[in-house]
């Protein structure tokens, strides 16, 4: 209706073009939303809706059976006086802050080792990638437990080297290091990404640096690292976010308890216990939202600081 009303003047200026192009863009929009329907539905029903719901639940007391009771900020104030919650942050922070850099360093070093013209690289790359594929499985958690238990293979190895200290599984001081080793073991995925990044560094840069008499250390800090910084940024962001969510291995190795001495009570593990064993859905929702805010803040800081250390070369968008 409105279309026809304003049609005459435009038709006079540009005969018949405007309505048809507008109709076409309308049709394009229709097609766009039609094709986007699966994702749009999923986003509304499985992400946005539940996020809003858990934000509401975070301010309530809800146990699945009685209707939710509004309690204001009580869940959040309780969080900070809950010793288990503090403990969950402590082990999770240790795991993220130590595990992620060590894993990235290992993956970068091995990627640089493999970035050469020798044969057999494809085989090595695949072999190193395998742990990333199976590392989060229950099977590997069981194997890890059997290897690090008192008198296990790792203990035997330590005895041979003369510094046996018993099992890692039962020692609260060494459960997090044991799980850090498990994540470092899965360095293959970031390594593959580093390797793809290294391949894109133009060899002329190294040749020019060699002519200028630069040694390997200078080449690394002046060429490799800056050229690799976008990939490093990507790996750092994803691995950090991922590390916050450790669950499977801690759950299996501690038999679902978070022990010994709460040393494997990681953040999402404690969230699971509160939400799905104690059915304190409001409390668990508050925990989930604090996690989202913390992870969001870290992502934001990484994105904000990226123009200080991430170097995007001219040709890549």
């Amino acid at each position: 209706m409105t279309l026809t009303a304003e049609a005459p003047p435009t038709r006079a200026a540009r005969p018949a073009r405007r309505p048809s192009s507008r109709r076409r863009s309308l049709r394009e929009a229709g097609a766009g939303y039609a094709f986007l329907t699966p994702w749009l539905l999923g986003f509304l029903l499985l992400t946005a809706g539940p996020m809003a719901a858990s934000l509401y639940l975070a301010f309530t007391d809800y146990n699945l059976f009685a209707p939710p009771q509004w309690v204001g900020l009580e869940n959040f104030t309780r969080l900070f006086s809950d010793p288990n919650y503090t403990q969950a942050w402590k082990v999770t922070a240790l795991y993220v802050v130590v595990g992620t850099p060590v894993k990235l360093l290992a993956s970068l070093l091995v990627a640089m080792l493999l970035n050469n013209a020798f044969r057999g690289k494809g085989f090595y790359r695949s072999a190193f990638y395998l742990p990333s594929l199976v590392g989060a499985s229950v099977s590997i958690a069981i194997v890890w437990k059997a290897m690090f238990i008192d008198g296990g293979v790792v203990d035997r190895g330590q005895q041979l080297l003369g510094f046996s200290a018993g099992g890692w599984v039962g020692d609260p001081n060494r459960t997090v290091p044991m799980l850090i080793l498990l994540t470092v073991w899965q360095f293959g995925a970031p390594m593959v990404i580093f390797l793809a990044g290294l391949k894109q560094v133009p060899t002329e840069l190294y040749e020019a640096a060699a002519v200028d008499g630069a040694g390997p250390v200078r080449k690394f800090f002046r060429i490799t690292l800056p050229m690799l910084s976008p990939v490093l940024f990507f790996n750092l962001l994803l691995e950090t976010i991922h590390a916050f969510q450790i669950f499977n291995s801690a759950f299996i190795i501690s038999n679902g308890t978070g022990g010994p001495a709460r040393s494997t009570l990681f953040y999402t593990f404690y969230l699971y216990i509160r939400g799905f064993q104690d059915f304190q859905m409001g409390y668990a929702s508050a925990m989930a939202w604090v996690l989202v805010l913390v992870v969001g803040a870290i992502s934001l800081v990484l994105f904000q600081t990226q123009n200080r250390w991430v170097h995007y070369s001219g040709e890549s968008k």
């Binding site: 992400t47 590997i140 073991w185």
Partner: protein, 311 residues
Amino acid sequence: MSTSTSTQPAGPVATARSTVSDEHSARLRRTARNRRGAREIVFHVVTLLIVAVILYPAVWMVVSAFKPSNQIVGNVGIIPTDASFDNFTKALQGIGGVSFWTFFKNSLILAVLSVVGIVISCSVSAYAFARIEFPGRKIFFSLMIGTLLLPFHVVIIPQYIVFNNLGLVNTFIPLLIGKFLAAEAFFVFLMVQFMRNLPRELDEAARIDGAGHVRIFTAIMLPLMKPALVTSSIFAFIWSWNDFFGPLLYLKNPDLYSMPIALRLFVDQTTTSDYGAQMAMAVLALVPVLLFFLVFQRYLVEGVATQGLKG
């Protein structure tokens, strides 16, 4: 590679000099080749050592599955002395009256339906992001990337409440619905990246011939997207197969258990000293993953590599 061309003598006058320099450069080349050979050997020795350390836990797991239970913990060696299939027969007996093959079948159903759901829903949605201009596309794309970074724990509690109220706990539906609604942004992102690299002239030519989006998508895009679809399918299968958290929340009835939670139950129920059967069951739970890895390793590694680059 092209060393011979650089030392070609220029003419008869230069012959005497050039034989000398030829000999000299040949020697240089030989030492360079030797040095390169030596470096290559060092490279292989170092890398193979790392490979040995990295693959040791996996090899140890497989070998242990063939050992008697009392010879597993603390047995560093990877050559079994008296290998047998006893552990596997015990693992295949199942748990609490439920057959091993029931768990296997459940995992297979979940994994296959996940692949179907992800291939359909993510490719269709990715087409909208990559090839259609419509208002709101940029915002939705940013939101999609945002869900890639979002800890999923913030949605599981309301999701559980809703599925519980609908009586869908103890069915496969909560585990599969997200796969059919493109909720796994990783795959949407991977397919968008792939489609953006396909030449636009293809769809423009088809448009001039009067093809609509449905035709362009099914007749042009889908066939060209095969590598991305294969990569996505393999990842979708393996991730579904290894998924522990979802089945832990939603599958309470042992008849519906998938392999990972059956494995956990098995470990809980067997006496802690029966490591042999546990290892056998752990190996059996990984067999499909290892098969996929052996057959499709290139697709997997390439998929990971491209995912990280064009961001």
